[in-house]
């Protein structure tokens, strides 16, 4: 069984650059102030690579991938 992953946003570290939504619009939308909103709790298998890219490129290192817990952790 494949391990399910979920994205986490550290809201203290995040400064609203919005880079994640440019790299991975399938995973992130932005609120009206430019801060990311996760589109879903778990990362679909097909989007794991792009999720990893978003984590790597976040200028504030505010993103992380964690093993999903069931039920998914509350949306951040």
């Amino acid at each position: 069984m494949a391990v399910k992953l979920e994205l986490r946003i550290d809201p203290v570290a995040c400064d609203g650059y919005g880079h994640c939504a440019e790299v991975a619009p399938e995973l992130f939308s932005l609120d009206e102030w430019g801060y990311p909103i996760l589109r879903s709790g778990q990362v679909p298998t097909a989007l794991v690579a792009v999720a990893k890219l978003a984590v790597k490129q976040c200028p504030r290192k505010a993103l992380s991938l964690a093993t999903a817990v069931d039920p998914p952790a509350r949306r951040r």
């Binding site: 809201p11 570290a13 102030w33 801060y35 992380s64």
Partner: protein
Amino acid sequence: MTEPNGPRLLAGTAGGHRLDFAEHVATHGSLPLPADRRESGPWAKDLVAQIGLSGLIGRGGGGFPTAIKLGGAVEGRHRTTVVIDVMEGEPAAQKDSVLAAFSPHLILDGAEVLAAALSAKEVKIAVAADNPAAKGSLEAALAERGQPRGRGLDMSIGTPPGRYVAGEESALVHWLDGGDSRPTYRPSKPAVLTIGRRRAYVENAETTAALALIARHGGAAYAAQGWERTGGTALVTISGAVDSPGVHEVAVGTPLGQIIALSQPTGTPTGILLGGYGGTFVGPEALTSPWSPEGLRPVGGAPGAGVIIVFNESSCGVTEISRIADWMARESAGQCGPCVFGLPALAEDLALVALGRNKGRIDVRLHAHLDIIAGRGACAHPDGVVRMVRTGLSVFRKDVAAHLEGRRCSCAGAPSVLTLPDNAGELAWR
């Protein structure tokens, strides 16, 4: 000794009398503690079992069963520092301050109970820097009892800034660990908080005092008052449209209307804010509900930190919600975007509704903001504001409808019943 159906936490304090150590022991009896290390293991196990029987839940706002919280910490066997939270950042709450001012030894007894159960060598008591009465009473109490009975337990008092979120447990522990008094991001649940190399076990002051009663009299005696699964008495702070605001000790499960009657409400209640400024509004139908987690759940409320604010027809619900939201927006720790930008936006929407200006569908914008703010901060501050606003808009829906139609409600210009300290100045977190 205290009477079974009388006050317990506030026993002997009638008329604003502060119990010194001798009076405290005469009122409550001496505190049973394990004699040595060998005894402390079985003693802690029995204590947790007694707390389970007592039905005690946390009185700081969360309402989590204390037996589960302490039981987990006892089993964890980590080196632990006990933190007693007397911060009481809620402007509408005064119960922990009253307890510290009049029965400080009950809090210190409970702190000793926690330290013994967790084999802790250190207890840190946190009182807001702007609360000299509570700090002075606790300092005097520490001096009155001397350093705790030669067990090498170090009890000290710290005074973090008196901000709304400074008493949030991660903010409190961060300050005690040398940081600023702002919440920290804790991705793993339950979160592990540390001071230096030790685990921090944080307990609210009133919950701590209740532990001193359970350690003395056992869980069954504590649960003799209470309702369904939740035992004991609790301290409530009643304010708003009442003639005599103040702190009262009530049995859990007392009907809300009966509790409010203790403070003599003026006029007819139209809404009640329960828990705190980040709590839930309930309508007058809740007056017959038992004040307990189970009793208030059907009307969407919860006891929270024991705050009860009464509103009547003389104040405008919409304007009052707007005032609270504006105050809470200024109390943001300023760390997370959705809180820093979202709460002021929400407060602005509400101010426009309160003014009766509905240009550009302000109600749509307001609800869009409510939908995106919650769950996106490091702490639950924004979530609390969203909950307060949502439930308030529902309870005062007639006023809201009138305002959205540009009529304003009949109570335009009515004075506020709220206690909102001035917080427009520079925020201090150190």
